[in-house]
């Protein structure tokens, strides 16, 4: 998730302080949020103290996956704002945020997947409404703005890529030619401003520099190329894939996250892996799959042996901050499940089942609509990643992971039955 941000460390720190104060002031405007906040802080404090982690942690089903999926999708549908955009987060201090174009974009495939899975008309309508709202935000260049809606953000490479994922999927579902036309315009803009080495940097890039997690942008271009886009979109995706793969270290770590002022959150590491994996699958690049499998296995071992993944790592997967970045965990579950589908190694499925189990146990079942079924930024809630917020991209990746789990188990059960 990217935003247009100030560039120096001092600016970043001041900006962050201002945000915290603004959000904390929200509690004065909404005192009804004090009780849910206290309950969340209390339960996380207790949970982190007493939860035992053993070999068998998360190896049994605590609640049916279908129930958890319905709960998470309920949160996403309640987070819809005016005109169909979806809020970035529900803050325990200030309530719902403004709608967020980037996340609304990549929530469209999730909404359609759920609509097909449960024959849910409401989810399908929400996806179409979201796509229409996004079209209203497109710039003449084909780009989409960064930041929350209403903040007059400039063109953003990453956000355009994530919205492109949604537009391509909406076109596949509706066959509305306007959607494809606008998607191609977005893809053309991304291809035009790409650097010769395959990376994206400059004005539309977060902090102006290149990032390997923009492999998620390459994924969107590869999707476009496979859905009526041109060879130039596939070529741009492939150039970025080559650049990202050139940043992979022998131990599986991938350099080039390049986020000044932030630790290497698991969310961004998982973004890189998801982007490379999906681009590699679409472009039939075996080297990309092998690279993702190698890096993912490092994290799988850490999860299986330590029963948790750190919220952020040092380069080389060293160190590790103690809180859990729940979004990153859900993303890793998606990566493992897609690897299972690609190479049929059941160890990936096994790890994902346990990861999903852990995430299901973190879902809140009682409280206001912005809390129930939501995925907190961090566990405990005061961790470094999106503290005291339930974030829509966390819900998106958990819903994706749960649907992938159901699909994977269904295919394995069918194989066992035959």
């Amino acid at each position: 998730m990217t935003r247009i941000e100030p560039s120096s460390s001092r600016d970043i720190s001041m900006d962050r302080t201002a945000k915290i104060l603004r959000e904390a002031a929200g509690l004065l405007r909404g005192p009804q949020r004090i009780v849910p906040l206290a309950l969340k802080l209390g339960s996380d404090a207790l949970g982190t103290k007493i939860e035992p982690r053993t070999l068998y942690t998360y190896a049994a089903t605590s609640q049916p996956t279908e129930n958890a999926l319905r709960s998470v999708m309920g949160w996403i549908l309640r987070a819809r704002r005016r005109h169909g955009g979806i809020a970035a987060f529900y803050s325990l201090l200030s309530g719902y945020s403004e709608p967020y174009p980037e996340v609304t974009g990549y929530l469209i495939p999730t909404l359609y997947d759920f609509a097909h899975h449960r024959a849910d008309e409401a989810a399908s309508r929400a996806a179409e409404q979201a796509a229409r709202w996004l079209l209203s935000l497109q710039m003449p260049s084909g780009a989409f703005p960064g930041g929350l809606h209403g903040l007059a953000g400039g063109p953003s490479i990453f956000n355009t890529g994530q919205i492109l994922l949604g537009l391509v999927r909406a076109f596949r579902e509706t066959k509305d030619a306007t959607l494809l036309e606008r998607a191609v315009a977005a893809g053309d803009w991304l291809a035009q401003i790409q650097q010769p080495d395959g990376s994206w940097s400059g004005a539309g890039a977060y902090q102006g520099v290149s990032h390997t997690y923009y492999s998620m942008v390459a994924w969107s271009l590869a999707e476009l190329a496979a859905t009526g886009g041109g060879a130039e979109h596939a070529a741009a995706a492939e150039r970025n894939l080559d650049w990202v793969l050139s940043q992979v270290k022998p131990g599986g770590w991938i350099d080039g996250i390049n986020l000044q002022g932030y630790p290497f959150f698991l969310h961004f590491i998982a973004y890189i892996l998801q982007g490379v994996l999906e681009t590699g699958l679409l472009l039939r690049r075996k080297d990309a799959l092998e690279s993702v499998a190698h890096s993912s296995w490092v994290l799988l071992r850490k999860f299986e042996i330590g029963k948790r993944l750190a919220g952020a790592y040092q380069p080389g997967f060293g160190g590790g901050m103690k809180f859990a970045c729940l979004t990153g965990n859900a993303q890793m579950s998606c990566v493992w499940l897609r690897l299972f589908e690609a190479c049929y190694d059941q160890r990936y499925l096994n790890a994902a089942l346990k990861m999903n189990e852990m995430l299901k146990q973190r879902l809140t079942v009682r409280g206001p609509g912005g809390v129930v079924g939501g995925v907190a930024g961090s566990y405990p809630a005061w961790g470094a990643y999106q503290p005291l917020r339930y974030i829509s991209w966390g819900a998106k990746f958990l819903a994706d992971a749960l649907m992938l789990e159901l699909r994977a188990l269904h295919s394995l059960e069918a194989a066992c039955a035959s």
């Binding site: 053993t54 070999l55 068998y56 998360y58 190896a59 089903t61 160890r347 499925l349 394995l412 059960e413």
Partner: protein, 275 residues
Amino acid sequence: MRLVILCSSPYSETSCATAARLAQWGHTLAGAITLPSWDRITLLRKLGQWGARESARYAWAKLWPGRETTAQQVRNPYLKAALQARGPLFRNLHEVAAAHDFPVLTTADQNSPASLAQLRSWSPEAAVFTGGNILREPLLGIPRFGVLNAHLALLPEIRGMSSPEWSLLRGVPLGITIHRMDAGVDTGPILLRREFAEATECGSLTDLRNRMIARGIELMGEAISALEAGRLSPAVQADREKDHQFFVMHDRLKALAERRLRQRKPSPAAGQTHG
């Protein structure tokens, strides 16, 4: 052969049956090193493995046998013969030790200096691992023939946890491997590797595990006797570096493994593959 038993708990049936069987075969038990009965990690592991009700029933039967029948006191019925060989049922390691006259050291860390010193003083030719800590290099090097483990799968194909279940799910023949432990996870040299032919008689994964544990004890005895007679030499695992490690299996996959178990037909080719 002069042996030491390494155990996860004095109440471990597998440890008690292993010690009793090895003594019955005429080996000298120099001692046993066990984790305490209230070791937190072992208790949590058993809770996760068996569930609260089954763990409580087990603890009750071991600590307050009272009116429980012998069958109720033994969790693994295939170990009953070994545990009852001298008449009354051995309920813990101390009772086996009293019957066969060997000392038991209880320690929170089998790798601790005190534990290593005790092990050296017993001068074992081999140690038999039935559970406990992850063993470190100083300990592994003390017995002349090393520390031996009965792994419930064929090595090197399936290393690590839930090994019978993974064998079923991956379509690898069920088997047992007696190997000499090293610093890796089930990567040490192989002494004996046998396919397990009785799987077709098993009605559940629990039954399969119980039978394999009992068979593993018999194979351990066979391997030690062959090692002592110089008829067996450890074979280094071919693809030691390749990652064949498996982790605790989730219940959803276990259900599929169990389905595979029930689908199995007798295999005419099941037999010895090494040793």
